[in-house]
């Protein structure tokens, strides 16, 4: 099979897929679930329970009311003890519903049988409504409310659904295991999404380092006309939406526009699985697969975890916090963010927990930029990270915007190749934040 890829930029970090052979283990229900109200892009959901309420697993506890927002469901059964601000993964304090667990009683409406349900009789509108009702958001990390993505804007047409099974971040293997263990459910989820979008074609992009998943899904896809599996060259960030579209279809999404501009809609394979569970089993999104990994673990693992479980419990179940741990990262080594506490709960956007020892965690001191232009060669979006960094340092926000800083997808390729160890990604994130803030305030005027 010819390997497809994207042409501009990209880097080759060590893959370190230490946990790719570990089957998904179901973690026990946590003693206390701390469920943030804001687990998607856009506005946080509004709590509809109060202190003292008894809730069941899968019960709606917060409603997403704005256009870009998502419902939040309880991942445990028990009593709501408080609604307060907690430290969440972003490092900020955000409101969350705290539930003390009692047993594990699920909502009666949820179909808990393991049998595969292939047929879906709902109309596209009903599918989209169900996706919203069940709180499904993009599980590739961005947590964009899936319902919104399924609504094709006026004047645009969707031609192909692309499923993202690339998982290009080193160390992370949650999607890999999901494709191996829930492959057919993912394909059914894809057919449901295709129906909602009104498309006849779907493509599943998988990086070449997951041969078993490629073979498995290709075999299953024989029974699903319209779905084709594509083997992709291992190159970071192949899993980035625009790069995936470029590799699979050859089309480039124009700057600052959405994929539907070139007829594509992209969903993570985890999202497709969540859609399957939501539509076919009436099961809201309250648990997901999270990789727990790092070179110090004897057995890096993939866990099916309830939302709201403290990270400490994941680490504990993987063998405990190793001696000499220097950093705990939520996500992968390229785009992940370091956590300041292990009490932080798992949320819909959590894909992996990565531990570094103190040596691996140490950042080299930044030296002067030597203008080597490696960052320019590495950037998959055709930006000039060295220039944007300088503009951010000098607070030249308008100039940074003029140099397309908002096109940066924060992949970290530039920082990865910089020989002077400059914190390019940190500055880019800061610059994007400031630039978009300024845009918002100037629009309000």
């Amino acid at each position: 099979m010819m390997l497809k890829t994207f042409s501009k930029g990209g880097v080759h970090p060590e893959e370190n897929k230490l946990s790719s052979g570990s089957p998904i283990q179901i973690l026990p229900v946590p003693a206390e679930a701390r469920i943030p109200l804001g687990q998607s892009l856009g506005s946080p959901a509004k709590a509809i329970v109060i202190r003292g309420d008894i809730v069941k697993t899968g019960q709606l506890i917060a409603r997403g009311e704005a256009f870009i927002s998502a419902n939040v469901h309880s991942s445990v059964s028990g009593k709501v003890v408080k609604i307060e601000e907690i430290d969440d993964q972003s490092g900020y304090r955000r409101p969350a519903i705290i539930i003390v667990t009692e047993g594990d009683e699920w909502m009666d409406s949820i179909d808990r049988s393991a049998s595969l349900r292939k047929e879906c009789r709902l109309t596209p509108e009903e599918i989209i409504e169900k996706i919203h009702e069940m709180g499904v958001v993009g599980l590739g990390g961005a947590t964009f409310p899936t319902k919104v993505k399924m609504i094709v804007p006026q004047g645009k047409k969707a031609e192909i659904l692309i499923l993202n099974g690339v998982e290009c971040e080193p160390y992370l293997t949650a999607d890999h295991r999901l494709m191996l263990e829930k492959g057919e459910e993912i394909l059914v989820g894809a057919t449901i999404l295709m129906k909602a979008l009104g498309v006849k074609k779907a493509a599943i992009g998988i990086e070449n380092n997951k041969q078993d998943a490629i073979i498995h899904l290709s075999k299953l896809a024989e029974d699903y006309p319209g779905i084709q599996v594509f083997s992709l060259r291992v190159k970071y960030p192949q899993g980035a939406e625009k790069q995936l579209i470029k590799a699979v279809t050859g089309r480039e999404v124009p700057s600052m526009k959405l994929p539907v501009e070139v007829g594509c809609v992209v969903n993570n394979v985890g999202t497709a699985f969540a859609v399957y569970e939501a539509v076919q089993k009436n099961k809201p999104l309250f648990e997901k697969v999270v990789t727990v990994t790092g070179k110090q673990f004897a057995k890096p693992a993939n866990f099916m975890v309830r939302i709201g479980t403290p990270i400490a419990e994941l680490v504990g179940n993987a063998g405990g916090l190793p001696e000499g741990t220097g950093k705990v990262v939520s996500g992968g080594p390229m785009m992940g963010k370091a956590l300041n506490s292990l009490k932080v709960p798992v949320v819909k956007g959590t894909s992996g927990i990565l531990l570094f020892d103190t040596a691996e965690a140490r950042r080299q001191p930044a030296r002067n930029c030597i203008r080597c232009a490696r960052c320019v060669s590495a950037c998959p979006m055709g930006l000039e990270p060295y220039l944007l960094e300088k503009q951010v340092i000098n607070e030249m926000w308008e100039e940074a915007e003029g140099n397309h800083i908002m096109d940066c997808m924060e992949c970290g390729s530039c920082q990865y190749v910089c020989p002077s160890s400059r914190p390019l990604l940190d500055y880019l994130r800061l610059g994007k934040n400031k630039t978009s803030q300024l845009k918002r305030t100037s629009v309000d005027k």
Binding site: P254, S255, V262, R371, G382, L383, E384, Y386, D407, S420
Partner: protein, 312 residues
């Protein structure tokens, strides 16, 4: 930076072979002076942590030495080092902040200030153990320039011009690091292999010189010497592979690098053929260093998704 030092070892060994003691002392002195000056300015004037370990001062020292005759008086070399590191690099803010190639600035300063000593070229092999009063002779480019000015044809000058073998090996008069095209090309291949430089600048520079001088040679081979000679003689190999490729002072995109190389090539030939000096590499590169910010503004990388936008 240390990879560049490794790439310069072949040329250094050749210089020891042909120019002996002079080459060794000149190189060592230049390196020590550059390192000392950078350290002193960083520590005592700028009051910051000296960054000698990045190897850039060492590289500047080696390249400065490689661009001067092996018999250069020690005090002139020290002054050149002060200008290279102090003026051309540290006064702009240190590593990464200089607009001009420091070694070339030092070299050109020495050429203008000490024209006699900077154009006294020790003959190869005859001055290995000599430190003063070296036996000197003209460079190949010098022979051609003077001869053509006096109305001689290339055929008439042929006996005074070294053949290709000597030009490749380095058995010729010239700056201590520029003589052996073969040793420099070897170093260049190492730099490419280690991905320390990209091919765009050396190839566009050399190709431009080759084509420009080739056209002239085709027009009148008695007045304009052949393009292969131009490639092998003088400081072109050293300049195209080690000086023009200095990351700090060259463009940031591959397209820009091609433009830079072409510009260097055109200016080099212009000066060699019609300018006052027999060699134009140093000036050509310095002029293109000045143009680099404009090149960076004009030749930006293609934005992802841009082609689609412009089609609409």
């Amino acid at each position: 930076m240390w990879g560049v030092v490794v790439a310069l070892v072949p040329a250094f060994l050749v210089s020891l072979w042909y120019f002996g003691l002079g080459a060794f002392i000149t190189t060592a002195l230049a390196v020590l002076s550059c390192v000392f000056i950078e350290f002193t300015i960083a520590r005592y004037i700028l009051k910051e942590q000296p960054a000698i370990s990045d190897g850039s001062a060492v590289v500047t020292g080696i390249l400065l030495a490689f661009n001067v005759p092996s018999s250069i008086p020690w005090w002139q070399l020290v002054i050149g080092s002060i200008v290279a590191i102090g003026v051309a690099k540290m006064s702009f803010g240190g590593l990464g902040r200089n607009p001009f190639n420091p070694a070339l600035v030092g070299r050109v300063f020495m050429l203008i200030s000490f024209p006699e000593d900077m154009t006294s070229w020790p003959l190869p092999l005859q001055n290995r153990y000599v430190l003063v009063d070296a036996l000197t002779g003209p460079t190949s480019l010098g022979v051609v320039k003077e001869g053509v000015k006096n109305g001689e044809t290339i055929t008439q000058l042929a006996s005074q011009i070294p053949d290709y073998t000597n030009l490749l090996l380095g058995n010729i008069g010239g700056s201590l690091g520029e003589v052996s095209a073969a040793a420099l090309i070897l170093g260049g291949l190492y730099l490419l292999y280690k991905k320390i430089i990209t091919w765009q600048i050396p190839v566009s520079y050399l190709l431009t010189v080759f084509l420009f001088t080739g056209v002239l040679w085709l027009i009148n081979p008695e007045q304009y010497i052949d393009p292969v000679f131009h490639l092998l003689a003088g400081g072109l190999m050293l300049g195209a592979i080690f000086m023009a490729t200095d990351m700090v002072t060259s463009p940031m995109t591959l397209k820009g690098m091609l433009v830079f190389g072409v510009g260097c090539g055109l200016l080099t030939v212009l000066i060699r053929v019609w300018g006052a000096y027999p060699e134009g590499v140093s000036f050509a590169i310095l002029i293109m260093n000045a143009v680099t910010p404009l090149i960076n503004k004009g030749f930006k990388p293609t934005l992802f998704g841009e082609k689609v936008k412009s089609k609409k």
